[in-house]
């Protein structure tokens, strides 16, 4: 007696669920992608505030200064001592003049670490004022919770 081997059907992978999920993922990433160049620095941990909402207006000629707790300033990709910031600012204001703009049209965005002594913030602001800059924005990260009763020293 002869036996016939059973016919094995061609195994086909059903790609439909995988393509569905992949398209869902692409849609998600397309919605959340943000092409704006966020000026952040891991060395600086911003304080939080419920009023620190992302601004709808885009600052004209922003100059980002990241102030660390040790008093160094991260600006233009380099870590500078406070007395070196003046040279950086002069370069920035020179660039503004090339564009027929004055320094008072620039916006200095100070991203200071939450534990930075205010003395250093004051020194940085004074350095900026020496470079004829006068618009300052103190940056904080948005706090989702509502305002709490914050006792002193906590």
């Amino acid at each position: 007696m002869r036996f016939r081997s059973p016919e094995i059907p061609d195994a086909e992978v059903d790609w439909t669920p995988m393509i569905d999920v992949t398209f869902q993922l692409i849609s998600f990433f397309m919605f959340v992608i943000n092409f704006t160049v966020a000026e952040v620095d891991q060395r600086v941990q911003l304080p939080s505030s419920p009023l620190a909402k992302p601004s709808e207006e885009v600052w004209e000629f922003p100059i980002f200064l990241h102030l660390t707790t040790s008093g160094t300033v991260v600006a233009g990709g380099a870590e500078l001592a406070l007395d070196e910031v003046k040279r950086f600012l002069l370069r920035e204001t020179e660039l503004l003049r090339y564009q027929d703009k004055s320094p008072d049209q620039a916006n200095v965005i100070i991203r200071a670490d939450s534990a930075t002594p205010m003395e250093l913030v004051q020194q940085l602001i004074q350095t900026c004022r020496d470079a004829k800059l006068e618009n300052f924005h103190l940056r904080a990260k948005e706090e989702k919770s509502t305002r709490g009763n914050s006792p002193l020293g906590q």
Binding site: P50, A52, P54, R147, S150, G153
Partner: protein, 163 residues
């Protein structure tokens, strides 16, 4: 003579999905690699006009500025604060006081528009307490997430020990 009916014969058309899947995966890898989780950030505006000789140049001469004095301990923590000599135990109490001061006086030429606050702090005070103070005096967050402005003109007193 018999003709074969060719028109009725239909072949199953297979779409080659491989290029599309390739492109889709390329896209997905691009999006995954460029995905950054950045916490939303906002700014508090401080205007420091250069017209005057010092940092403490009054923004508006009409009203004397409110003066918030903030004292720090040696570690930079907040040790005490007083608004025009009135001490406050918490930022929440300060906030409630400022809300009471501003009241419903809003609009052009109102107290809310002309009020100005000078922050005077010890040099070692940490930055976060100043942000907390600015938060307490500069606005109210409503239930629907809108910000109702309180004092908008905020400036820093000259550094302690400076001429």
């Amino acid at each position: 003579m018999r003709f074969q009916r060719r028109f009725g014969q239909q072949h199953a058309t297979d779409i080659d999905m491989t290029p599309m899947i390739d492109v889709v995966f390329q896209l997905q890898i691009f999006f995954i690699l460029t995905f950054k989780i950045v916490a939303p950030e906002g700014d508090f505006n401080i205007k420091m006009p250069l017209a005057g000789p010092s940092v403490s140049t009054p923004i508006d001469q009409d009203l004397p500025p409110l003066r918030l004095r903030m004292e720090a301990d040696a570690a930079g923590q907040l040790a005490g604060m007083a608004l025009n000599q009135t001490p406050f135990e918490s930022f929440d109490a300060l906030h409630q006081h400022v809300v009471g001061l501003i009241g419903n006086d809003r609009g052009p030429d109102s107290f809310q528009e002309s009020a100005q606050l000078e922050l005077d702090f010890d040099p070692q005070l940490h930055y976060r307490f100043v942000i907390d103070a600015i938060t307490a005096v500069s606005g109210v967050l409503t239930e629907d997430g809108q910000i109702v402005k309180l004092i908008e003109k905020i400036k820093f007193a000259p550094p302690r020990g400076s001429p």
